[in-house]
């Protein structure tokens, strides 16, 4: 496996692929009068495209538009405020992913609450927070669960463990998002002009290739499922341009080593068992019906939203344009706050906080 990993990162192959991508992209432009434009739905792609230098190397040839696939960035302000408000209660241990710590709420952040003495712990795995609950029976342990389809089954497993072991002092505040509803929203609104999608590799591990047939059948848009290493992404972009040149709308699985046609049935079952569709609010978009999952009624005792209801006011409006950025309408530099009032040290919008947010990736990797 290690020699394979070396090859997916091999610079020589990467440079050759880059050359071929540019050659094909220029043919595309000749044929259609505009450079090919693709949306990478997934925030990890945004991060990896910037970090590996692909985005910069392709900047005059292929438009790579960052989509709404960073779970932190798409969480609306009110939800974030509610999660931060959860830290106010007595005897609580709040567990979450490292990504969440710095997100700015209307008043402070989790990191600030931690500085003020609240017990907030960064865990790598949601199951670790169930263990923390068992070790601290006198505390209420609340896990803040964000994520798309990759992470939802992992959240489900933590719920399963807590349920089966009867862990009474554990609950989870979930605000999860699904890829299909938001992709449909973007296509239906017709806002961003796209020639195809670079489809999220790890979400597809769970969902499977077949799940994307709506893109082809209903919208006539091609998509390529891609991994996150340099040559995986370059070859996927190549395949996308090639589909465009052939005027062929289909889904190609370019991440066959882990993505199956039918996805991961165990993961899908866990999702189905513990979660039910929910109308989720997306930053800058608003509520999209059934665009997320919440904990099923049967497991309401594990649902922190029911156990610890919090009320938060309407958030204050800032000039932050994260909402338009996640819809692919504007780039980070179009925001008046970018790099000035809003930096990774003092982020105003979530796109600057999450390492896979467009603003953060742009700030870190694409600014001169």
């Amino acid at each position: 496996m290690e020699p394979i990993l070396k090859e997916v990162q091999d610079a020589g192959l990467g440079q050759s692929l880059l050359r071929e991508v540019i050659r094909l992209a220029d043919r595309f432009k000749e044929k259609y009068g505009h450079p090919p434009a693709y949306m990478e739905v997934c925030g990890s792609h945004t991060h990896a495209l910037a970090r590996t230098g692909i985005k910069r190397a392709l900047k005059d040839h292929v438009r790579l538009i960052s989509g709404p696939g960073c779970p932190v960035c798409v969480t609306d302000q009110k939800t974030i405020d509610a999660m931060i408000a959860l830290t106010e209660g007595e005897n609580r241990i709040i567990c979450t992913f490292g990504d969440m710590l710095r997100i700015p709420g209307s008043k402070g952040s989790l990191l600030k609450a931690k500085t003020e003495g609240k017990d907030i712990r960064v865990v790598y795995s949601p199951s670790d927070s169930v263990r923390i609950a068992k070790e601290n029976p006198d505390n209420e342990v609340i896990f803040l669960g964000v994520g798309f389809e990759t992470t939802i089954p992992v959240l489900g497993i933590a719920l399963k463990e807590a349920w089966e072991d009867g862990v009474k002092n554990f609950s989870m505040w979930v605000t999860t998002k699904l890829v299909e509803p938001v992709v449909r929203y973007l296509l239906d609104s017709g806002e961003a002009k796209l020639d195809g999608f670079l489809l999220p590799g790890h979400v597809s591990v769970v969902l499977g290739k077949n799940q994307y047939s709506y893109l082809v059948d209903e919208y006539g848009v091609p998509g390529v499922i891609s991994g996150f290493e340099m040559n995986e992404m370059l070859s996927s972009i190549y395949l996308l341009i090639e589909l465009g040149l052939k005027e062929e709308a289909k889904i190609i699985n370019n991440y066959k080593s882990v993505v199956k046609d039918e996805g991961n049935p165990q993961a899908l079952t866990i999702m189905e068992t513990f979660f039910t569709p929910n109308d989720e609010a997306w930053r800058g978009i608003g509520v999209i019906p059934k665009s997320g999952l919440d904990i099923r009624e049967e497991y309401r005792s594990l649902n922190a939203k029911i156990r610890f209801p919090v009320t938060v006011g309407e958030p204050i409006k800032t000039k932050c344009r994260c909402g338009e950025i996640i819809r692919g309408l504007v780039g980070p530099e179009d925001c008046p706050l970018f790099g000035k009032a809003c930096t990774p040290m003092k982020p105003i919008g979530p796109c600057m906080v999450s390492s896979e947010g467009s603003c953060s990736a742009h700030y870190k990797y694409l600014r001169e």
């Binding site: 394979i4 192959l13 795995s125 199951s127 089954p153 979400v203 070859s235 190549y238 882990v258 199956k260």
Partner: protein, 74 residues
């Protein structure tokens, strides 16, 4: 939207496995990959193995990409 890394399974019991990522080890859940065997590679995300990595497909993919650049791709 999700960090995922290939990890080699060193040991497994019913629900968990000890895996190695380039020399660093950790214990991950294997509920989602019940058929995993010692020696397999799995894709790990947030402490769970999400899928068994099919090394043959990985090799085939790289061959296909090489064809893209040497002009033998059809």
């Amino acid at each position: 939207m999700c960090v995922g890394v290939p990890a080699k399974v060193l040991e497994r019991d019913e629900f968990t496995a000890k895996v190695d990522v380039l020399g660093s080890q950790m214990t991950v859940g294997i509920l989602l990959v019940p058929d995993v065997q010692v020696g397999d590679y799995v894709l790990v995300h947030a402490g769970q193995a999400l899928q068994i990595v099919d090394e043959m497909f990985a090799v085939v993919s790289i061959e296909e990409w090489r064809k893209l650049v040497d002009g033998t791709h059809s």
